[in-house]
Symmetry: C2
Subunit: 201 residues, 2 copies
Amino acid sequence: MARTQSTQYPILGLLCIKPLSGYDLRAEIEGTLNSFWRESEGQIYPTLRMLEETGQIVRIEGQRKQARERQVYAITDLGRQRLRAWIAEEPRMQSPRNEFLLKVWMMRHGPEGAVLAHIRQHRQQVAIRMAAAAELQTLVERNRSFPDFPVWQTLFRYGALMREAELAWCDETLAALEPLERREAKAATCTRKGKKLIEQR
Amino acid sequence: MARTQSTQYPILGLLCIKPLSGYDLRAEIEGTLNSFWRESEGQIYPTLRMLEETGQIVRIEGQRKQARERQVYAITDLGRQRLRAWIAEEPRMQSPRNEFLLKVWMMRHGPEGAVLAHIRQHRQQVAIRMAAAAELQTLVERNRSFPDFPVWQTLFRYGALMREAELAWCDETLAALEPLERREAKAATCTRKGKKLIEQR
DNA sequence: TGGCGCATGTAAAGAGTTACATGATTCC
DNA sequence: GGAATCATGTAACTCTTTACATGCGCCA
């Protein structure tokens, strides 16, 4: 048995705000939840069908008569109930799988400077996300009166704190490891030269 | 097509340090990589076999004659080469899937106080991990002369920075949301009473 | 002799990714 | 008429999880 499916919950959560189509859901997850949730295309439509079959959502627009007609779904009381129960459960901690840090950990087994380049690029990507988040936040600021506004604020804050910490780490680490790698690169070059000489004998 | 398998790389990385058995690998990943990598039990042994078949590791102890005999593996030049190539590739960013933050985002759709309780528990777990990391760090401090020591230091630092930010966020958020939820709980109680009266009519 | 830790493995099932196929509508 | 965007969906594949099976050696 694999773990239980989690795709359904962000869908139910979004439908709590207002009825949406599969396409909308995808855009919404991509656009506003993307800092802490991702959903792959091939997962949304089957999940919508499952949720409809189990009575947690209903189709309120589009009868699937015409092909590719826009289907809009709304959450039902049962759906709201299920979501409520899930929220109350203790969240399963995402066991992390961070390729970036794994590569940092192994940096001495990779080509010279490769991981330092990864760190520099990571720093840049974080900076870009930071700017994007700031932009999104100013957009959301207009809905100050929305009841979810305070919670959204805390999530922006979460992202900001993490990204700040990440940037600080990148700077620290580059400062600490760049001179080190340069020194080792020199040493390695010497060794290689030495080896070559020996092999040439 | 799913993404390419990543289990093999932490295994190769650990075997770069010294030869290990499947059991050791599991313990090592659980014990020292656990802040940024996880590996499920059922994945290690099949991966070891695959790596052996493709010549990236070799068995240097245990002939599989006796059942359940300890099998120790060492990395080969080919394995080292493959690992090197993988490290040089740009790391794929982990698209996040954070149930905890998803529940925070939906907190108004869950039972009163449930998510605040999650946040309090989260804070506690982070504090525990913080202490565990500090302990591990003092242990590692003894190997100052080890060539990987500077890199390990930066990884400890990464964990410390993230956990600090996480704790700060928990405190901030609890301070911001606790009074809010109390106020809303009161309002909701009034509403419910009102509804009941109406239904009793 | 019975329990615990070391140790290696297998099987089933489902979750999730990727890539592709198809068609409607809008706008130039 | 054609390109871009909106929109729904399927198929193949494989990774990962979970739970279980097996057996050795130690030691109280």
